[in-house]
Amino acid sequence: MIYLDYQATTPLDDEVADLVDSAGRRFWANPSSPHMAGMRSQEAIEGARRKMVRLLGCRPRELFFTSGATEANNWAISMVKASQEHHIITTAIEHKSMLDACRAFQRGGGDLTVLPVDNKGFVNPTEVKRAIKPTTRLVSVMAANNEIGSVQPITDIASVTGEAGAPLHSDATQAIGYLIEDITQYPADLVSFSSHKLYGPKGIGALYISDKFQTSNKGVPSLLHGGGQEGGKRPGTQNLPAIVGFAKALELSRAALTDERSRVKQLKSMFLDLLLSHHPDIMTNSPQELCLPNCLNIRIPGLDAGELMSAVPHVAISAGSACNSNDQQPSHVLMAIGLSAAEARSSLRIGFGRTTTPEETRDAALAISAAVSLMKAS
């Protein structure tokens, strides 16, 4: 199989897998237990946290482990009490975990604005400015889109939210491995991200909550209720092996960040060039500039993406977000950039990653190309 679905998830790195396995065997005691074995577990978690905050540039108390980015997104939205006096702004192309959390806020009586995007998936900071009200309590704009790869103008958006005194949250799940180095230089007050997009284990993510946000909000309300883990802000026995693996995965991703960024970008260009040389009518839904280096979304006029995927079973690609794949609805992201339902259904997402080789890229492009030719001929 040629795996080209790196926006959905990444394979677990071997070194990370070994560490997760050994951590699970060595540090099985409850990190909250008041005995030597428990303290070893606690120190393993705090050691992982120290490693991550060094890599991200933040402080330990700004980094909270969660079960993934979905929980982190839900937690960020839950910090705003649902009422007509509280307003949240988000965008039409956010991940389902953000949009659904926002809809739940709205159903609970909260005031919600969902901003449109342009035909390449960019949010206009002027639109954000126009939407802000005196009651705006949170603005949430993802760093980079998981279906088409558009990288949002977060610095400009942060200028607008900063002027208005509205906190900014950003889902950086797709961006953390390629675009964000020092998280304190990234101009959001809250940032969600996840391990499994970084070749780390599934079931672990984090919410960065800046000191500034914590101070101005006089603390952080928790999403869950229970024990005193994560300072009582995210109760529940920590997933120690996954936390240790998450830290290692982040470390490995940082070590090769620049090289990997340009390598996958080259693979993406090579794939698209090859495909276009056979089928010049193929269109790109992804923006040319300001796009995730490893994400490509294309549209093949007149063809059904599902049928095409079935025609190349040895190439793992996707017709959109994995989290939406059981919806039987055209992608909300593609609809938001102005595609018709038929156009959205003829779109494919191709994601490149650490294990993708140039040979695989060429083989996949040729296989898809041949399948398109066959389908067009039939």
Binding site: E43, R50, R61, G231
Partner: protein
Amino acid sequence: MRNRSARFLKRWLKDMDSDESLRLEGTEILFDSDLYPKVIAGAVNEAGAGIPRCPLIVSEYLDLSFKRLSASRQRSSRVVFDFNRVADKDKVIKGTEMYLARKSQGQEAVVQVFFDAKTHDFVSIPYSSEDLGRRAA
């Protein structure tokens, strides 16, 4: 150390704004912790006097230790290794955070070493002013 802590509470109860990381809730004096949901620094008795609890006493002990270190030649960065019983884990970690968050002047670290005298087993957990120091306003 208990008396030193009691003197601190006496001063604080007269001027609560002098340390905003502490607050009075009923008869309990609570520290605003990042590591624990609740840290009781002291209590107020019927006569209105402050009674220090373990975390505050540990914090005062570290304050004194670092003051002694600063008076010595080691002025740039200072580390205190503090050996404790496993059973005292939470109170000493709470006290360490109370010191580093409230009083540390930077470039200070406390390594809490939890030691089992019978098995000679130990775990060391480092805490630094860089990690736990005051928040930017």
